[in-house]
Amino acid sequence: MQFLTPLAFALSILAVPIILLYMLKLRRKQTQVSSTLLWERLLREKQANAPWQKLKRNLLLFLQLLILAALVAALARPALETKVVTSGSVIVMLDASASMNATDVKPSRFEEARKSVLTLINGLTSDSAMTLILAAQTPQTLIASETDKSLLKAALSKAQVSQGSADWSAAFALAAGAARNEINSTVVIVSDGGLPDSGLPSLPGEARYIPVGQSDDNLAISALALRASKGVPQLFAEVANYSGADRKVLLSLYLENDLFDARQLDIPAHSQKSVSLEDLPVASAVYKAHISDPLKDEALDSLPLDDTAFAVYQSSAARRALLVSNGNFFLEQLLASLPGIQPFRALPAADGDLKIPNEPFDLYIFDGILPAELPKANLLLVNPPANPLFEVGETVKGIHNIQVNQHSLTKYVDWKTVHVLQAKRTTMPNWMNVLIESDSTPLVAAGETNGQRIAALTFDLRESDLPLQVAYPILFSNLINYLAPPSAFDASQSLSAGETLTLVPPTDVEKIIIATPSNIAYTLAAGQTLFSETNELGYYAVNFTSKDAAKAEYFAVNLFDPAESNISPREKLQIGNTAVTPAVSQQVGLQEVWQWLAGLALIALMIEWQVFHRKPFKIRIKDKG
């Protein structure tokens, strides 16, 4: 609190004449009456009420002095210091990234930032409007160009901090959009400064920066990954120290919540250390890494969010392929060399009788022959004879004008040097996508019918030079991965918060339920292949339910973002070509409060009026004539 015109306090001297006048007023006015007889009698009775009369007089004096005090104080123009008094159109970008969870300022950086914005709202002049933008993974406009402070506060109270990185480019785009409609706009960034150092577009109007946070005290698990090395999973973990002090941490590793390894790491300031573990169990599992203080049983650092990380190992032994052939060297070689495929071979008996093993396979490859009844599974048909799936005609010689259609399965397939001697004339049904065709017949086609994926080559590999070309392994790898997908999704790489997971569910799945780390269940429709509710850090369980089996797979969402884990508050922001610093003069503004004092004076005046008027001045004499 300070006073802009403290000289006005000199006016307090006016209290002297008020008190003097008051004392003079107590010298009663002499008034003649014909007789005081009745008054004397009356007052003798009223003696008891005398103290109240006195008090009432004093009340008037007190009220008058109060009015004077309030007016003098108002004239002295008292002003309160506020963070920033803002006017015009104000666009506030509130950082809601993971680093704002840091607790170096209590209760958290985000709450501190919320408080700063609240101060901005309170300091908003009556004719100015504010737009609130929450900068999270998906930035959103909480409220646009609003002048009503209560609505602004309600919108602000709904803002939630996220556990992921903020998309500042998108937030800046929103801010620029909001600023475009205004003439005099100010963009205020309330953040701990975790903005990208370059690549941000410049903002229209003035930009201000209100920094939040004090400390850089944070350690993080900056990487946790598993990969198969010679069929055995290998774990890699990296712990980074972002603080300015050397730290000792205890890294604990859990396998399905059971501790299996713990080691102490000495990490110098601003550096990291990594740990590799081998000979882990082959089975699919969720691994958890956690860092803690080796000496104390309390929070290791200001941001506990990145002290735990998860990784998921998927064993890749699941895909079994059965090759049914009279002997095809090219296919056998190919299947043996494809990673993650366990090939089996079935030969027809000498009498031509074909027996399909009872145990199920992920993929059946029929080379030139077909069983009496096709298995209800994904099929790759090479040079197929007549079959119920599509129409097969006579053999055509002279395959010309070969055309490769654009498709994910024909990606990187170079057919220019491939020659085909002869192929079977086939007519593909609508559900089959023709991938490669000549002017006389389709050569390669793939499609899905009744939850069954079918691919077909209409020629014998030995009737072409395809197996000798680069296109051969690429095309077959594409086809086999299509027909026997390795897993519903790739869990080897963890996602970052808010990132979308792409699912390729097995064909027989009827329902997918995904449970988040805090046990919220999302049910996906059968056809849905995208899941984006990954805002929470931790591991997610994906439950596939098919007709007769249920299967669970896991994926992890980790922070793994140095920009967020490095919580040291930035001194300035680089936006476009300008560096925005939180200049002191901008930080502190003055909000005058004389209006309140003037209001107090007015109220006191009204009370004084009321008190005074308890003595009504009815001096009109009733005419008795």
């Binding site: 003649q32 005081t36 009745l38 003595k615 009815k618 009109r620 008795k624």
Partner: protein, 293 residues
């Protein structure tokens, strides 16, 4: 000039009334309780020895052969004493509403009525515990100018001591008559003992209580020091609406208490506010109260 011609003519038609009739010294226009020698018949009674034979009704005697004395109404004059309170407190009120002036007007009116009716009129000014001036008894309308002159010469100037003044007035022997006291009754010691004294002399009394309008409803507010114009006594008072209402109520109670006291002693009482035109009071209010007819 205290009265104009037409008022005077009206006043002449009025007569003062005393409930208990006093014996007059000369024949007046008043009906006396004494049966006497006027021409108006009143009653008969049996003759007793020593009765004036001139008053025997011979016609009755001729018819009934029994002697009856004829009783006749005796008409007599009335002694009227008008007493005016001449204290300084009476000198209050502006212009026509001045209480003393008002009292003089009333005295003049009553005097005019009395003289017109052939009553014996005395007027006394009560001041400072004595009778400061006196209009010697007079009878007949010819005394009217002298009465007016006397009244005009009066002034309100001294303190009030109604008891002492009334006592002083009652000491010299006077014919019993109707004493009319005009006062504001602002007397610290009251008036009662003096009035009793007057009554004990056989007088009949009537009180005319005169108050100015701003004594009944004072136009006062705020912190004041009230100064009594008569005694110079000072009284600090902070007047607000409540106190003013209380004062007004107290005035009413005071008037009522005087009225009750008067009724108890058979004294006629008339309270007047000087805002009422005094002619109207003489011609109307006093008649209503039974003081005149």
């Amino acid at each position: 000039m205290l009265f104009d011609e037409s008022t005077l003519r009206k006043l002449n038609q009025l007569t003062l009334v005393a409930s208990r009739i006093r014996s007059g010294a000369i024949k007046g226009e008043r009906r006396s309780s004494h049966r006497g020698s006027s021409v108006e018949f009143a009653d008969y009674r049996n003759y007793t020895a020593g009765d004036d034979l001139r008053r025997l009704d011979w016609n009755i005697y001729a018819r009934l052969e029994k002697p009856f004395i004829k009783l006749l109404e005796e008409e007599e004059d009335l002694a009227v004493y008008v007493l005016i309170d001449g204290s300084r407190s009476m000198d209050w009120g502006d212009g026509e509403q001045n209480k003393f002036l008002y009292a003089l007007h009333l005295a003049a009116g009553i005097g005019a009525i009395a003289l017109g009716a052939g009553d014996l009129l005395s007027v006394g000014l009560l001041q400072g515990g004595r009778v400061a001036a006196e209009f010697s008894p007079a009878r007949g309308s010819y005394a009217l100018p002298r009465l007016f002159k006397f009244l005009e010469s009066l002034e309100a100037k001294a303190d009030t001591d109604l008891n002492a003044s009334l006592k002083a007035y009652s000491i010299p022997p006077r014919r019993a008559g109707l004493a009319i006291l005009i006062s504001d009754f602002f007397a610290a010691d009251g008036y009662e003992t003096g009035l009793r004294q007057l009554l004990s002399r056989g007088h009949e009394a009537a009180l005319i209580h005169v108050l100015a309008p701003n004594e009944i409803d004072p136009p006062l507010a705020g912190d004041l020091q009230l100064v009594d114009i008569e005694t110079n006594a000072q009284q600090d008072v902070s007047i607000d609406g409540g106190l003013r209402n209380l004062y007004k109520a107290r005035v009413r109670e005071w008037i009522q208490s005087i009225q009750t006291d008067c009724r108890k002693h058979g004294i006629r009482y008339l309270d007047l506010v000087t805002s009422q035109p005094w002619e109207q009071v003489l011609l109307l209010e006093m008649r209503k109260s039974g003081l005149v007819k």
